[in-house]
Structure formats: C-alpha cells, structure tokens
Amino acid sequence: MPDILLDLSSVTIRFGGLTAVSSVSITVREGELVGLIGPNGAGKTTVFNMVTGVYQPTEGSIHLGGRSLAKLKPFQITDLGIARTFQNIRLFPSLTVYDNVRVAFHRHLQNHSLQSLIRSSNFEEEEANLKARTVELLTLFNLQRVQDEPAKSLSYGDQRRLEILRALATKPRLLLLDEPAAGMNSSEKTELLTLIRFIRDTFDLAILLVEHDMKVVMGICERIHVLEYGRKIAEGTPSAIRADPKVIAAYLGDN
C-alpha cells in the first residue's frame, strides 16, 4: 500500500462559540483519489481551508508526508506541495490566461526581483524556459487558443479548467479540488470526470475532492469520507458509502 501523504488527525476548529469541524480524521495516500462529501454547511470547505493554512485548527494536527503544517502560511504550504482550487473560482482576473499559469510557476523560480532588473542571460534563459513549460501546459488543456485574453473574459467552463491548470503549475503532490463540478451540466460533468482521471495519471499526484454531486464522486473516487454537521459520519469505498444508512439519512433526511 502506498505511503500516507496527507494525515488529518482529530482536527477541530471553532469560530467563537461555533464548532465548524469537530474531531475529524482524514488520510490521503500517495496517488490516491479521495472524495469528501456531505450536505451544505457540513464543513468540507473549512477542512480545505485548514489544510491550506487559511485557517489554523483549534485542536488536532495536519501532516503532509510526515511534516506538520501547523502555523505555516498558505504560501509555505503550497511550497510543500499542496495546491487547490476554490469553490467560487478565484483566478487573477486582470492577468492574461498565460500569466495566470506563468505566475504559478513561481515556486520553482531561481531568479527573483534583482535579476529581473539586471536581466542577465541566465534570467532570460529561465524566462524562456518557463514560457515553454507554460505553453505546454496550456496546450494540454487546449487553453493556448485564448492565452492572451484576460482571465475574466473566459467562459465559465474554461475558467474552471484554467483554475485547475494554474494549481497544477505549482507541481503539487496533493491537489485539492473544491466542488469542481459546481454549475456544470451533465455532459460537462462527464468531461470533468475524464479530466480529473487524466490529471491523476499524468501528473503523478493525489487528489482530494470536495463535491456535492454524488454521481461525480461515486464515479471517480477510490475512497470517500462523509461529513455532517462538522463530524465525520462514514468512510469507505463508494459502494460501502452508498449502502451506509447514516449517509442515506444525512442526504435524504431521517424520515
């Protein structure tokens, strides 16, 4: 069995008096595709925000490949190899599609502020190199056709895909996708499923997927965690989850 990559152990977070997530433990192994589901307000996005350092858990610990993520800032966590997308797409709207991806290569950059003033041959070489890699990525997702457009002018579906691509440019070991299928119709969803599988196979990474749509999750994930009211109520394979009475109750109501 592959090693554990992400390990959330009894993680709790409180906002004032409200316990948004209570003693949740989740693991993701190298190369695994894991789903995180639950009704609205169950705390799924909050889990993402804790993993990426936007919030600090009140109790419990989060480790990536054995390294604690406590007190790290979001950009430091990205440096360690976690990348994410957002529920309500957060691109850099005034940058071009090309620059949106290019800027995400930042963590692999050798040359910084001073070099961009001196513009040595070394610097120019790296910039040219990055350009090639950016275009290569864009082509992979068929976004090179709009690469010089500002990101805000893209169609909704393209914006979603660009956001995933931008996350991939940071070369993550773990990719967090926050409701990637939101607002998509069923044929777009089918396309998305293919895309996610393709990403996992091509980029050699693990994926943790928050999703509302059962079809998407069931069709793709190897293992699923279910949250309700900030607590984990079930964990298992898609077929086990589908049969779990607690999950059925959570989604359909008790009566």
Partner: protein
C-alpha cells in the same frame, strides 16, 4: 491634584467632541464600508453655521434657550448637507470599488475646504472669532475653577448620545440601520429601502458632527476653513480605536483620545500632540485591529 482634575475635565470635554464626530464616521462605515473623508468638513461647516446663526440673531445676552436653538438649527443644516453630499457624490458610486469612493470622498473634502476658503463663494481664509453660545459662569470648588462652558460640552454630548441610542435601538429606522450594517443584500430582501436608510445615516452622523462643530468652536473660540482636518482625523482614529462600526466604541475611543491628547499637551511633548493620535492608531491596528470593542471578522474563502 487640582491641576489633574482640571486637565481631566478638559480632556473629557475635548474627547466628547471627538466622540460626536467619530460616531458619524463609524455609522457611515457600518452601512457603506468606507471612510467618509468629507465628514470633517461637515464638522467645520457646522461651526460656521453656528457662527452665522449667532451673528444673525444678534443675541444681546447669550441665553440657554438661544444656545439650544442655534445648536438644533445647526444640526438640521448639517444633516441636510450630509444627505446632499451622499446623494450627489457617493450614491452614483454604489457598488464601485472602495478606492473609487474613497478618492471621491477626498475630492469632496478638498472641494468643501477650498470653497470655504474662497472669499467670494465661501467664508474667506481668515479665522473668525466665535461669540459665546451659552451664558458662562465660573464655578469655584475649593481650588478648582470650572467654567459652565466646559461642563456644557459633556452634558450636551450625553444628551445627544441618549437620543442616538433611542433612535438606533428603539425605532424602526434604527433597526433597519442595524440590519443594513449586518448585511445590505439581506436587508433589501426583507423590504428595507437601503437608499433611504443610508441617507438617514448620513443625516444622523452629519448632525452630530454639526453639533460637535459648534461645541468645539464654543471652547476654542476661533474658526477657520481648515479647522476640521485635525479633529476629523483624530475622531477617525477614535472610531478605529473603539472598533469601527461600533457606536459605544466610537464614544469610548473619542473620550480616550481626548484625554491622551490633553495630558500630552501638559508635558514637554506638547508640540508632538498631533502625532500622538496617529501613533495610537498604528499601535491599535497592530495589536488589536478590531479595536477595543469590535469583533474581528473572519474572511470567507
């Protein structure tokens, strides 16, 4: 000891005026989330309106009733001015970026100041002496000498605060104001006329600034078109100190700033008096960005 009590009273008196101005900043910030830079100029206009009123009525002897009349008239004029500024300059900018509104507010402030300085359209650049508003009497408590004017400021302020509290907490309009500051979209969904409430908020805040202008002029009896800037900035600091958007916080912050400033004035550091408020501001934003009474909001991601 006498010295201390004297300074304490001076500080509270100055602080009460800062509190009156700070309430306007904090209320507008509550409903619109921006700093109304022109607020300090409403304060300045307030003292000029008071000056004109006192000139016009030519009181032989300042009377208590006359003073209250001038104050009320003054508050009404400033309320109108506040609504006018909002309608003309800020309303067309609803839903634009904070930056755009902020710069517009700075523009409005510059415009009022420069119009006021103009000899033809305004009051001219020279300071004017402010006549007595209330009958003044010296009271003697042992070694301590008090003028009734010094007492008038905190008393009038307390009265105004009581009225404000009643409006905000016991009237429908006040409830709507509070609803709006919680969530503007939700407020409009439940049938609150946001534009009307915003205008009302400006009227309320501006009338308090107007009262502050008259009271300030009464104690520092010289007024000029640029007099609003410094008290305005300090009142803003007071609002942040108390927790912006928080009404009791603004009042508390105002009194604290007034006290600190008065006591610093009595020391060798007196020439740095104007810098102190900003030093407090920077310190508070570093250590308690939500202010003394404010609650920190968690940004939703």
């Amino acid at each position: 000891m006498t010295e201390f009590l004297q300074q304490l009273l001076n500080g509270i008196s100055l602080g009460a005026i800062y509190a009156l101005i700070a309430l306007g900043y904090t209320m507008v910030y509550g409903v619109l989330r921006f700093i109304n830079f022109a607020h300090s100029d409403v304060f300045m206009i307030g003292s000029y309106v008071g000056w004109f009123a006192l000139q016009r009525f030519q009181f032989q002897q300042p009377s208590f009733l006359g003073g209250i009349t001038v104050l009320t008239l003054d508050m009404a004029v400033c309320a109108l001015l506040g609504v006018l500024i909002e309608k003309l300059a800020y309303k067309p900018l609803r839903n634009r970026s904070t930056l755009t509104v902020l710069i517009t507010a700075i523009g409005v402030s510059l415009l009022i100041q420069n119009l006021a300085q103009n000899q033809k359209f305004g009051f001219g650049p020279n300071p004017k002496a402010f006549p007595p508003l209330f009958p003044s009497k010296q009271l003697q408590f042992g070694d301590l000498t008090l003028s009734t004017n010094q007492l008038a400021v905190p008393i009038v302020t307390l009265g105004l605060l009581a009225i404000l509290y009643w409006i905000v907490h016991c009237t429908r309009t006040g409830t709507a104001m509070r609803a709006l500051s919680f969530n503007a979209t939700a407020a409009s969904l439940v049938g609150i006329n946001n534009d009307r409430i915003i205008s009302f908020t400006f009227a309320l805040g501006s009338s308090l600034a107007g009262a502050g202008g008259v009271l300030y002029a009464m104690n520092y009896p010289s007024i000029d078109p640029l007099m609003g800037t410094m008290p305005g900035l300090k009142a803003f600091v007071a609002a942040v100190l108390g927790g912006i958007g928080n009404l009791p916080g603004a009042a508390l912050g105002g009194v604290l700033i007034g006290l600190v400033e008065t006591f610093v004035s009595g020391t060798r550091l007196s020439t740095f008096r104007d810098a102190i408020a900003f030093a407090i501001l920077i310190a508070i934003l570093l250590f308690r960005p939500a202010g003394l009474l404010g609650k920190l909001k968690v940004e939703k991601v």
